[in-house]
Amino acid sequence: MNSILKTSISRRGVLGAGVAAAGMLAMPSVLRAQDKSLKVGVYGGYFKKSFDSHIFPDFTKETGIAVESVAEPTGEAWLVQLEQAAKAGQAPADVSMMSQVATLKGQAAGLWQTLDTSKFKNYGDLLPRFVNKADDGTVYGIGAVAWYITLVTNTDVYKEAPTSWAAFWDKANADKLGLLALVSNSFLLEVTAKTFMAGTNALDTEEGLDKAFTKLAEVKPNVRLWYRDEAQFEQALKSGEIPMGQYYHDVTGLAIADGFPVRSTFPKEGGIQDSGSWVITRPSKKTEEAHVFIDYMSQPKIQGLMSRKVGTAPTLKRSVLDLTDEEFAAVSSEIEPIIPRYDLYVSKSDWLNQKWTEMIVG
């Protein structure tokens, strides 16, 4: 919308100064918005749509900073684009929502600015896992959104909800599962470790990883689909074609609201909690505005709004939030989550990827 308004101004400018002045007077808010603006990268599709309609307009109203949201692909494609642009001194977005692995890799490449945490009013209320700290203690990322990957089932096919991730290993579920196709987005090694090896610390050593891979390979005969594309699995889950698998808690909630026969279960070992962080790219000149933005997004009020409207899990501790028990349960759970071992996907990424690909392809 903003860009359309801008072009209309420049066209008026060509027509003549008088008309141009009239046009600008008619749109004072646009003029002010142009003074201060911020390009924000958010995951394309559902997230961008939700942010554009529920979050950004109020932010602009409150701070006078116009937001131009940029749809970014998930995964590391956006990191590659930011890195290429940074080499040319460009910032396709000033602030970006980045996955944890991409945040760590970007930090190792020196792609992010150091954040001034004194500018964030609710810094002390953030859960520790939502602050990205470098080894020297400086902060370069703040939790943006968090979500759960849970055990999902089709209610027509499974009358009873499963209670444990161990259901994936059940021989009765042969050829019935849809699982994420990559080691770094399925987090199934962590699930294996938490379910059968007493916790994700078991993955510290290569023997532990080998054991987890061996255990995980037993799941293969049960897997019908290894998916990269969410829509592919979602459609199959709704129709009962593939009645069980791992999927996003929030999107499953939307499908339930639309009346589809699906359910999302937090297994007793915990749901997988993944999250994205806000980072500021080094070439960005909008450091000031970007801090205002991150501060705004980290307020209890906005975190609550996002849980209600977007379906994300809050990044702040429960006590400061205004969510009811019911609202909290819709986006999160009191069961201790499985936190992915992001460090492994940086330090051992090629090794893990190679072993994983050989496991599922071979």
């Binding site: 692909p73 995964g75 590391e76 494609a77 990191l79 590659v80 890195e83 760590l104 890799k105 970007g106 190792a108 490449a109 196709a181 990559l182 770094s184 987005n185 019908r224 689909l225 290894w226 990269r228 594309d229 592919q232 459609q235 199959a236 129709s239 009962g240 074609e241 940086v346 330090s347 051992k348 990424s349 090629d350 990827n353 690909t357 050989e358 599922i360 392809v361 071979g362």
Partner: protein, 284 residues
């Protein structure tokens, strides 16, 4: 019309634009890719310019070798299936009336407007257990209960042949339309049945066209990335799927580039070999 060979620089001028496009959109990106394939991968971040053979070394393994072999086999199979279906079909089409031909060609062109994603999802619905064609077979009593026909190798092959078939027909069509009808008339006069005339006269007369079409479909199918993923099991994934994983999800550009260079070299070699064999047979 007599053709004069180009003499002056101005005569070559019309070549400038295509040449420029070729340089900007093919030679420059391809050279960049070759260069990147020798860069050093830094797992914690991206890559640093260097000249190392690590990326090629990693590729030279039984695992990637078998994936490459599978991709080549799949592409060859798609090419053979497409030509085997499209050649007789196009031949019969050229025998039809003008109106029928137009309708068919417009229909085929409209298939080209479908994206790979739509083709993939349509076939996955058609072959599914809950909504697929096996439900029809159950309805008419040929099967006891609906089954899922995917993910499977057959599903991948079907989807890819469906996608490449319109191209195959459109490439074969001009050659078959222009085929001298007196050739077949002569064969028929000499007592050949229509199928015999087709296999013994039409097919050999269009040998070069068939080989060229096979190569085109082969190259087209080799780059396929989405359909093997939507319709196949991990063991049906092509090298392109693994290249994308490396480039997009692992941000391992050097390794992805090395795999892509390997794929291009192997396919160029295969195309070259086909042409060479064709020429030698021709000389005999």
């Amino acid at each position: 019309m007599r053709r004069e060979p180009p003499r002056t620089l101005a005569d070559y001028a019309p070549l400038a634009f295509p040449a420029l496009m070729l340089i900007v959109f093919f030679i420059v990106p391809f050279s960049t890719m070759i260069a990147v394939s020798f860069f050093k991968r830094n797992p914690a971040s991206f890559y640093t310019p260097d000249f190392v053979f690590d990326n090629y070394e990693r590729f030279l393994s039984v695992f990637f070798g078998s994936v490459l072999a599978f991709s080549l086999m799949l592409a060859i199979l798609v090419a053979v299936c497409c030509v085997a279906i499209a050649f007789p079909f196009t031949y019969l089409l050229t025998k039809c009336g003008r109106r029928t031909q137009t309708v068919w060609l417009v229909g085929l062109l409209s298939v080209l407007s479908l994206s790979e994603v739509i083709i993939g999802f349509s076939w996955s619905t058609l072959l599914s257990r809950t909504a697929g064609i096996t439900n029809l077979l159950v309805a008419i009593g040929l099967m006891d209960q609906p089954v899922a026909l995917l993910p499977s190798f057959g599903a991948v092959l079907t989807g890819m042949v469906y996608q490449a078939l319109p191209y195959t027909i459109l490439v074969l069509y001009p050659a078959l339309v222009r085929l001298d009808p007196t050739l077949i008339e002569a064969a028929r006069t000499l007592g050949a049945s229509p199928p015999r005339a087709f296999f013994n006269v039409v097919t050999p007369a269009l040998r070069n066209t068939i080989v060229a079409t096979l190569i085109m479909v082969f190259v087209f199918a080799l780059g396929s990335y989405l359909l093997p993923q939507i319709l196949g099991r991990p063991s049906n994934w092509t090298l392109s799927v693994l290249i994308t994983d490396q480039a997009i999800y692992q941000s391992n550009m050097p390794f992805a580039a090395a795999m892509a260079v390997f794929l291009v070299l192997i396919s160029l070699a295969l195309v070259g070999l086909t042409l060479l064999v064709g020429r030698r047979e021709h000389a005999l």
